[in-house]
Amino acid sequence: VSTVTPTAERVGSDFRVTRSQRNVAWTGAVALIVVVVLARFPYIFYAGTTTILVQAFIVLTLASMWNLMAGYAGLVSVGQQAFVGLGAYFVLVLALHGTDPFAALPVATIGCGVAALPLWWLVSRLRSGYFAIATWVLAATVMLIIERFSSIGGGTGMPLPGFAGFNPTLLTAYTYWAALAVTVAALAAVYLLLRSRLGLVLTAIRDDEVAARSSGARVGLVRLLVFVVAGAGCGAAGAVLAISSLQVQPSAVFSVQWTAEMAFATIIGGLGTIEGPIIGTAVYMVLQQTLASYNAWYLIIFGLVAIIVALVARRGLWGLVDERLHLRLFPVGYYLRSNGSAKPRRRGGATEKAR
């Protein structure tokens, strides 16, 4: 203790620890304005635009969850489509029993979080590549089990009931708001999680798992938590998917394409940053919209770009921005600033390590 105290005192007198170089309240206000403007979209634009944005919100939610897993907890899952499908089916089952599909959305989210527990128990012992394929097998297994129940459409799926009373224009608007709410909640959850004590552990695991473990971080428990949160988030996205497409088809909701999209968006945008998935989703939407008439080409090009980014620019597009501007939209790390001089020292914070 005696060796620590003087250092701490000195830090207290000479330096100041802050979350960000810029004022957080300012970025918070901008975020609020962006959300309010996005929420006004159904009044301004035609349904075509909001439908495209719903798709972007689904991918952004998924990418944020994948980023939390792969970027922070070191869990590369290629079976997240299991939760997308489960979320969609939770909504379908509840709607078949007379629940309003929009009211079913939060239930589906919680349901997927709970479903993540037994699935985690099955794969938690595996590491890296084996974990990846095992989650893939798990997703295939979940799909095969769900296809056995003919009452929920079996192998062909069925349309989502419960929309009889809705005006089509209102329905598109409600779907849009639901998708927006899910995305904002997902981003807020990731942000708050990373700002908490747990976030510190996660960042430590991201930077060096062995060091984190030997410093007493409960890596297994944190991984479980991340898997559950990611399961719930992907389930929410799946529920939005079911509501926006008005039908649930096993081969569509359990498609590995979802994992491809979330993984590629995260890699291209920047793994291990909150901003990365947002940038990656923007790239995805641009590619998808420009190449919409060329079938699977957008996914081929998206995949090739992801491979190139993974090999050449490991920190993704946001990494390139960050290197030049030292910008943080979501400040989760700490900066050590000298009280005397105005020049901040960047390398002091936990998130700044091992870059």
């Binding site: 590369v76 590549g129 394929i133 893939w136 993974a310 090999l311």
Partner: protein, 291 residues
């Protein structure tokens, strides 16, 4: 009798699954690369075989003479370029790159060759003929041949790795690539050779599956990659015979499952896989813990 038949058929399809698993297991064993594009590359090999047969009119069975070297060369090239470059960065990068390759190949095949299924050697005596064992058991010649090929490939690999000079080099590099490098081995080249070997078996498995069933762009992941992985996990790592046992257990589980309910064939295999994962994570044969 139906159950005996299911078990015999299961054992024989197990040979095919062991053939699937060979390349995956070899790449992991030597380079510590989990190749998520494994199955899609097997489908590519199958499509190349179909192309070669259509163009050159060589007998279907001999198509492997061309396809195996082509795939081996592709394996060497891929390993020396993007896989090695991903390996130099991190394990996570290899996963992302091979996953990316898998999605790109699958959608590329879909784009250029449509979603139609294609078979190899349809109508050929070897592919369609079978012989009877007793009155109720009918065994396809093709499955017996594939099983024999799988055993031959496993024996050959085992012999090559344990006896030959180059096999020793591969094992040395797999154990400690820096130490092997110090002793004068170029580990990147050795990795390339191991990848070429793995891709050779991938080519065989693609052709075999094309003859046994039908290939389509989605076969690579739906069937080949996931079954190969299940066989590896069931059998246990590090042992080629474990791989054969894993394939056989998976095959028997599927056939017995199909006997109970025809729609549950694949599901039954996965349930056995998950049971092994939980009850015996080191696999049926291996004593070592899994990574």
């Amino acid at each position: 009798m139906a159950w005996v038949n299911a078990i015999i058929q299961g054992v024989l399809t197990g040979g095919l699954y062991a053939l699937f698993a060979c390349g995956l297991s070899l790449m992991f064993g030597v380079m510590k690369v989990v190749n998520l594009a494994h199955g899609d590359l097997a489908v590519v090999a199958g499509y190349v075989a179909i192309g070669v047969i259509t163009i050159t009119h060589i007998p279907v069975l001999w198509s492997f003479v061309i396809v195996v070297p082509v795939m081996a060369a592709l394996g060497y090239a891929l390993q020396r370029t993007i896989i090695q470059s991903a390996l130099d960065r991190s394990v996570l990068t290899t996963l992302i790159v091979t996953f990316g390759l898998s999605i790109v190949i699958e959608n590329g095949l879909l784009q250029f060759f449509s979603a139609n299924t294609r078979g190899i050697g349809i109508g050929l005596g070897l592919v369609t003929d079978s012989f009877n064992l007793g009155s109720q058991i009918q065994i396809a010649y093709l499955l017996v041949v594939i099983f024999a090929v799988a055993v031959a490939v496993l024996l050959g690999l085992q012999y090559f790795l344990s006896r030959s000079k180059y096999g020793r080099l591969i094992r040395a590099v797999a154990d400690d690539k820096e130490a092997a490098q110090l002793a004068g081995a170029d580990y990147r080249h050795v990795f390339g050779i191991a990848a070429a070997l793995a891709f050779g078996t991938v080519a065989l498995s693609g052709i075999a599956y094309g003859m046994y069933s039908q290939l389509s762009p989605t076969t690579g992941t739906d069937t080949i990659l996931l079954f190969a992985f299940a066989a590896v996990v069931i059998g246990g790592l590090g042992s080629l015979w474990g791989t054969l046992l894993g394939g056989v257990v998976l095959g028997v589980a599927q056939q017995v499952g199909a006997q109970i309910n025809i729609a549950d064939e694949v599901l039954a295999g996965y349930i056995v896989f998950l049971a092994v994962l939980v009850l015996r994570p080191q696999g049926l044969t291996s004593r070592r813990a899994q990574p």
